[in-house]
């Protein structure tokens, strides 16, 4: 029963509408996305404005979430931080999805030697522990936003490739592909026009879960001193730099921590809901 994009979306929208968790996830993720996009409008202050006379103020009037060790407004920095954290997630996930989906489709559809070579490569990459590979890449390329994208993207693609290959393998001999091939459609069209839409739901679910993982990974890399670079405020680096202030000014730790938790929660909820909506077979997010 192959279907094109339209059927998929209609069905997904219907199911998503019924799923309370997914709706909540969508609201959280949507809010964060809007905050990131409209940061210059929403933030009460420029994120870098320092006021060395008003450092470490607790939450209160003027600074709803307090100020940090340079007297910068925490709320503004968190809003701008959404940009970094979401961008890291989006770019890294696009990268790993592009590479992973392409290789997975090709491997699953072509089979034979192509499949063998691609899958050995995937196995090879899976022999590296995720975080340590990301750390290695970051050190090798020098920390910075592009490194962060690349490191997290490279870590994610093998899993994606394996997932898509499995789907493609299962669909390869189904009638709708036979039909497409029989009508003389070229292999590239078959791959992207027919096979891909039918593998889309697990990809979307994996990407959503991957966004959550990326936000966490950025925090972990920041803990190791390899996260986003200043003056860009990222949640992970705010959290890490605020850590020594746990006793003195706990709001420096609590708010970035909450932001991370909220974003991860949102993406996980959304992923969970999407899994329910898009995949009739299962009812929970597999990660």
């Amino acid at each position: 029963m192959g279907y094109g994009m339209d059927g998929l979306w209609a069905r997904a929208r219907r199911r998503l509408g019924r799923n309370r968790g997914a709706r909540a996830g969508l609201v959280i993720v949507g809010t964060l996305a809007v905050a990131a996009l409209l940061a210059p409008v929403l933030a009460p202050q420029p994120p870098g404005r320092m006021d060395l006379d008003r450092v470490l103020l607790p939450p209160g009037p003027g600074h709803p979430l307090g100020t940090d060790y340079f007297g910068r407004d925490m709320l503004s920095r968190l809003i701008y931080g959404a940009r970094v954290s979401l961008t890291v997630g989006v770019v890294a996930q696009s990268l790993s999805a592009t590479v992973g989906v392409t290789l997975g489709l090709v491997a699953g559809y072509c089979g034979g030697w192509t499949d063998l070579v691609i899958m050995r490569l995937v196995e090879l990459m899976l022999c590296f522990p995720d975080l340590l590979l990301a750390v290695g890449l970051t050190v090798a390329l020098g920390p910075g936003p592009y490194t962060l994208f690349l490191a997290l993207g490279l870590v994610g693609w093998p899993g994606m490739a394996r997932l898509v290959r499995g789907e493609a393998l299962a669909l390869r001999d189904r009638e709708f592909l036979e039909a497409a091939r029989a009508t003389g459609t070229g292999p590239v069209r078959v791959l992207w026009g027919h096979l891909f839409p039918n593998c889309l739901s697990p990809v979307i679910i994996a990407v959503t879960g991957g966004m959550a993982a990326c936000i966490m990974a950025e925090a972990s890399l920041s803990f190791l001193g390899l996260g986003a670079q200043p003056p860009t405020p990222s949640w992970g680096s705010m959290l890490n730099l605020g850590r020594p202030y746990l006793h003195l000014a706990p709001h420096l730790v609590i708010f970035p921590g909450l932001a991370i938790a909220l974003a991860v929660f949102g993406f996980n909820l959304l992923g969970d809901g999407l899994r329910d909506a898009l995949d009739p077979r299962r009812s929970d997010f597999p990660g």
Binding site: G142, G225, L226, P230, P231, L241, H247
Partner: protein, 534 residues
């Protein structure tokens, strides 16, 4: 508080007071010291020690001919008295103490001293510290494998060592007090098939004997009952390796550590807590933090630009916000407490308008872009982020480039050509020479220590002369002149001399903070019976 020299003196008094009150009699065998190290030591072989941490552990295990006392003065150690120095300043004669034994029981003789020094210079050793002995007669050629003997270090009989220098060197005795001057037992070094394994099984003559070392976890040292200055009061020293600052604080609060090095934030927390009143010890570190400007690279090859950058940064405001009570504002490179420190040296005052005028005069009316290279430790950002903001005010767009330490040192050394970087310099020896010659002599440009790539023949001449000048007063005058001359050309934005704070548990007695890492021998420390935990 530390803006004025008087406040600084008050600190030194505090340092000498230590923590706990003296009891009537110091309890012998008063227990086990629980300390922590923020990293795993790399090696305990004096020939390969380069870090302060390794150096401080080696100080517990070994002795040299001379050593630093708590205030950084050179005092006799294995030598019975200070050496006889010939009138030309070239020949040093040391009489050794008798009856000094290595931890393995063998008696130390003059031959061991000769062996240990030769070993540092031996090209096969590839010691990182061969430069310490470079003034010794024949050392340079011996180290380059151009001759097989080292005439400059001789044993005369079993307890006399004679060292001759190729040129007089005023601070030579200070160099001998460095870990490179520690005496090792030849048999113990050569016992291992790979001599580098000796670094895990060190055997010295010091007050403490290495009992066990689990890499990454802990070191345990027990008291040497036969130590020539008498057995230490404590039975053993346990050093746990705790890298995460927050973990160390948690351990200290739980009563599991006797001493804690306080970061600026923890310092503020402990300072507000009345329970710790009187248990915080402050001691100036012999170090300087600075922003180096690459004097060989555009636009910093122009002295006006370097001065403009100096005028553009409000150092006082940054330091007061980030390190209150923990810094002495630096206008030069020689820290207070050293001969040659100049309290009257004028700094560049904060004046953004002047900075802009200077930039315009230098041909950069609209500023320029630059990179500030730094390590990725969090404390660094707290200094450089406001600097970045202040530079932006005068039109200089600075990008902060964080590198982890390996890449950082490669970049600021011979491998890279950065515009500007934030770094600190820590004393090997408590001597003004150490804060000028390696940092500003054109001979040491790049990896040799002069990382700002500063070069001025007049400065070189003064520094060369000072190294050969033996009179203390004349020497310190020369260093003051050199410092003034260097900083009038603004190769750095000097930032601060750090003051380190330690929190000490109430039961600790006899602890004295030292400004140089390997002065701390831990022999006078004792523990009172512990009071109730906090």
């Amino acid at each position: 508080m530390a803006r004025h020299p008087a406040a600084f003196l008050a600190l030194l008094v505090l340092l000498a007071a230590g923590c706990a009150r003296l009891p009537a009699a110091i309890p012998e065998g008063s227990g086990v010291w629980r300390g922590c190290l923020n990293r795993n030591p790399v090696t305990l072989d004096p020939a390969y020690v380069v870090t302060l941490l390794d150096s401080s552990i080696c100080a517990l295990l070994y002795n040299g001919l001379v050593r630093f006392d708590e205030s950084g003065r050179v005092v006799p150690d294995l030598a019975r008295t200070m050496p006889d120095v010939s009138a030309d300043g070239l020949t040093y004669t040391f009489e050794l103490r008798r009856g000094v034994r290595f931890h393995n029981g063998r008696e130390l003789t003059a031959e061991d001293v000769v062996y240990s020094f030769r070993r540092i210079l031996d090209p096969a050793t590839i010691s990182r510290r061969s430069w310490v002995f470079e003034a010794v007669e024949g050392a340079v050629a011996f180290n380059r494998d151009e001759r097989t003997d080292l005439p400059g270090v001789r044993a005369e009989g079993s307890h006399r060592v004679v060292i001759t220098l190729a040129w007089p060197l005023a601070h030579f005795l200070s160099l001998l007090a460095m870990p490179a001057g520690y005496v090792v037992d030849r048999n113990e070094v050569e016992r291992h098939t790979d001599p580098r394994d000796y670094g895990f099984h060190p055997v010295g003559t010091g007050p403490w004997v290495l009992e066990s070392w689990v890499p990454g976890a802990y070191l345990r040292l027990r008291a040497n009952p036969d130590y020539f200055e008498g057995r230490p009061h404590l039975d053993a020293l346990d050093y746990r390796i705790i890298e995460d600052g927050a973990t160390a604080v948690a351990e200290f609060r739980a009563g599991n550590l006797h001493l804690l090095r306080l970061g600026p934030v923890e310092h503020a927390v402990f300072q507000r807590d009345p329970r710790w009143e009187g248990f915080l010890v402050g001691a100036p570190d012999l170090a300087v933090y600075y922003l180096a400007l690459n004097c060989e690279k555009e636009p910093f090859d122009n002295v006006l630009v370097r001065q403009a950058v100096n005028h553009a940064i409000d150092r006082q405001a940054i330091l007061e916000a980030v390190l209150p009570g923990r810094y002495v504002l630096a206008n030069g490179s020689i820290p207070p407490g050293l001969d040659g420190h100049d309290p009257h040296l004028e700094g560049y005052r904060y004046d953004p308008a002047l900075a802009r005028r200077l930039l315009a005069a230098a041909g950069y009316p609209r500023g320029f872009r630059m990179e500030i290279v730094q390590t990725s430790s969090p404390g660094v950002l707290q200094i450089t982020e406001p600097i970045q903001r202040m530079l932006a005010e005068v039109g200089v767009e600075a990008r902060l480039v964080q590198l982890e330490s390996g890449a950082f040192f490669a970049t600021i050394g011979d491998q890279g050509n950065p515009d500007c970087f934030f770094v600190s310099w820590w004393a090997d020896i408590p001597d003004a020479e150490n804060f000028l010659y390696p940092l500003f002599h054109s001979r040491n440009r790049g990896g040799g220590g002069n990382r700002a790539r500063f070069s001025d023949p007049a400065v070189d001449a003064i520094l060369d002369r000072a190294r050969l000048t033996l009179g203390a007063a004349e020497r310190s005058e020369l260093y003051r002149d050199a410092q003034r001359l260097v900083f009038s050309q603004a190769p750095w934005v000097p930032l601060y001399f750090p003051i380190n704070y330690l929190a000490c548990r109430p039961e600790v007695g006899g602890f004295v903070a030292c400004s140089i890492a390997n002065a701390q021998k831990m022999t006078g420390v004792w523990l009172a019976p512990p009071p109730a935990a906090d």
